[in-house]
């Protein structure tokens, strides 16, 4: 067992989840079974292999350039009002579970 009950509680906390007792039990089983399978990655020696975080800096760009210079095509002049106009206030708030018409409302953060 790699993952313990304590780990499940800790990770749930990081992920902003509470989880029921049942869910924690199932996740304990599932995470251990999946991570056991994932462990086969350790059969490979990757000491000298660079990590690949994204695809778009390897393909479809000017290979003679390096780093951010490869993405110069994405640079454009500033457009004052934005590429697309900002949403009007009421549209931006229309999906909010709670708002006062100006701000999103959430339960009180600081107790006095």
């Amino acid at each position: 067992m790699k993952v313990t009950e304590k780990d499940v509680a800790y990770v749930a906390d990081l992920a902003n989840l509470e989880l029921t007792e049942d869910e924690r039990g199932i996740l304990l089983r599932d995470l251990n079974s999946i991570l056991d399978y994932i462990d086969r990655l350790n059969q490979l020696d990757t000491t000298d292999v660079p990590p690949m975080a994204q695809v778009s800096d390897r393909y479809g760009v000017d290979q003679s350039k390096t780093g951010s210079a490869r993405f110069t095509y994405a640079i454009r002049e500033d457009i004052h009002e934005g590429l697309r106009k900002s949403l009007p206030h009421e549209v931006a708030l229309q999906n909010a579970p709670d708002s006062d018409g100006i701000f999103f409302k959430v339960p009180k953060v600081i107790e006095r």
Partner: protein, 477 residues
């Protein structure tokens, strides 16, 4: 009008020549949806008002005798992970149950700009996480070829709608096989374009270094028409590439004679169903008879693709799904007194089982002490997988494989064993990780009349070649 074999060109021509009105065509599809979809469950939300407004616009153009755009009046469906202004978009999740997007996904906007009539939003696994469509928070989708079986996933609704002729073409998304595997299970064509080829603006993010939008269609030509419509740089998505878009339809006419096709032994080993193997081997023979040269190749790291994928994809998902916290949109719990309780209970109640499983796995892989062992390790192996393809593509023009190790499985069959469900993606995740394009084209059936898919993988930004091979195969059989 016969809806069953209606292709994009046939639908558009009928509207152009005024044999039917775009509005009548849309109404005919809505009638068929009403009649047939209760058994299948492909649609989640119908956008009738928007569809008919578009259809009327097309009819007005046709009445003036104007030359109509390439998708004019063509009834299409869109996977419910692409946002549509004023049309509810849920990503198959309760947490977005009432979400009304204030803007349109670029791919959908481009379809409509080309004249397409968007009938509605298609069912999928919650946040596109699944291989059977059983993770939809609303209801599963049934395979139109056999209602006791799954349509594949996560774009199960997109594949089933095309197979059941309740859309001429659909858009899906692919992160680990979610276009190609359901296309294979339902007997339709599914194309995943190169990473960067199609804008993801307005695609609800699952794993940003993998997610792609692509078409599911009845024919390879239709896939080429849709790709030509949605491809190309979009200033709203900085990951969309500045690479010229060829005319994919014109490119289909080029011969395939002399092309070199790689067959990788790693895709024909243990776990491959005997009937699937037989169909795919027969398809490769057909391509050989069309004067393609079959070249045995090796992609030695293939067996590491699933473990790599389930670290990379879940890590990115855990970050992308952090935005669902009950503040700006979506579901919020009523049962919370503090902000922290509100976040947690909202997410607990709003997300389904598989989504929580993946958030937990991804959060674990990124957490202090495990980051190097899991996330960084997986990224390094991802480089090895990409290099496998780079080496092989020095020798061949495309690679042919089975799309999935089995034909469609039964509903419920894999729901209690996440690992066995993950293995359904074993032949598709490699292309997602490497960023290359892939297409699944139907290649025969099993004894139980279940469709089998042939997967053709190509070089970066070379969709034209795989489409050409797929079409040559489609026409030969």
């Amino acid at each position: 009008m016969e809806l069953n074999s209606l292709t994009i060109d046939a639908a558009r021509s009928a509207v152009q020549e005024r044999k039917t009105a775009a509005t009548s065509l849309a109404e005919a599809f809505y009638s068929k949806i009403e009649k047939d979809d209760p058994q299948i469950g492909a649609y989640l939300i119908l956008s009738k008002e928007r569809a008919l407004a578009k259809a009327r616009e097309i009819d007005a153009l046709a009445a003036k005798g104007e030359m109509l755009p390439p998708l004019a009046g063509v009834p299409v469906g869109v996977k419910d992970v692409m946002v549509t202004r004023g049309v509810r978009t849920t990503a198959g999740s309760k947490i977005l149950g009432n979400y009304m997007p204030p803007y349109d996904c670029t791919a959908v906007a481009r379809m409509e700009a080309a004249g397409a009539v968007v009938l509605g939003k298609l069912n999928c696994d919650e946040f596109a996480m699944g291989s059977s469509n059983e993770n939809s928070a609303w209801h599963p989708v049934r395979n139109p070829r056999d209602l006791s079986r799954v349509p594949g996933g996560s774009s199960g609704g997109s594949a089933a709608a095309v197979a059941a002729d309740i859309a001429v073409a659909t858009l899906g998304s692919d992160t680990g096989g979610s276009i190609r595997q359901p296309a294979s299970f339902c007997g339709v064509v599914g194309l995943m374009p190169t990473y960067g080829r199609v804008s993801r603006y307005g695609l609800i993010a699952f794993a940003s270094s993998l997610d792609r939008i692509g078409p599911l269609t009845k024919s390879v030509k239709d896939a080429a028409i849709v790709l030509r419509t949605i491809a190309g740089r979009d200033p709203m998505d900085s990951t969309s590439a500045e690479v010229p878009v060829p005319d994919y339809v014109a490119e289909l006419e080029k011969p395939i004679r002399g092309l070199r096709l790689g067959v990788a032994k790693e895709y024909f080993g243990e776990g491959l169903d005997a009937e699937v193997r037989k169909s795919v081997e027969a398809a490769i023979q057909t391509l050989a008879k069309l004067d393609c040269e079959i070249v045995p190749v090796s992609l030695p790291h293939t067996q590491y693709a699933i473990p790599t994928y389930y670290i990379v994809a879940t890590a990115e998902a855990s970050s992308n799904l952090a935005r669902f916290d009950g503040v700006r949109y979506g579901y919020r719990t009523r049962d919370a007194h503090t902000l922290s309780e509100m976040y947690r209970r909202t997410r607990d109640q709003g997300f389904g089982r598989e989504v929580k499983r993946r958030i937990m796995l991804g959060t674990y892989a990124l957490s202090a002490g495990y980051y190097d062992a899991y996330y960084l390790k997986a990224q390094r192996v991802r480089t090895l997988l990409a290099r496998d393809f780079e080496e092989v593509f020095k020798k061949v023009d495309a690679i042919v494989t089975p799309t999935s190790p089995t034909a469609a499985f039964k509903l419920g069959e894999k729901m209690d064993d996440p690992l066995s469900m993950y293995l359904a993606d074993i032949f598709t995740v490699t292309a997602d990780l490497a960023g290359i394009p892939g297409i699944s084209v139907p290649c025969g059936e099993t004894k139980e009349n279940l469709p089998v898919g042939l997967q053709i993988l190509g070089k970066h930004f070379d969709e034209a070649t795989i489409l050409r091979i797929a079409q040559a195969y489609e026409q030969a059989v």
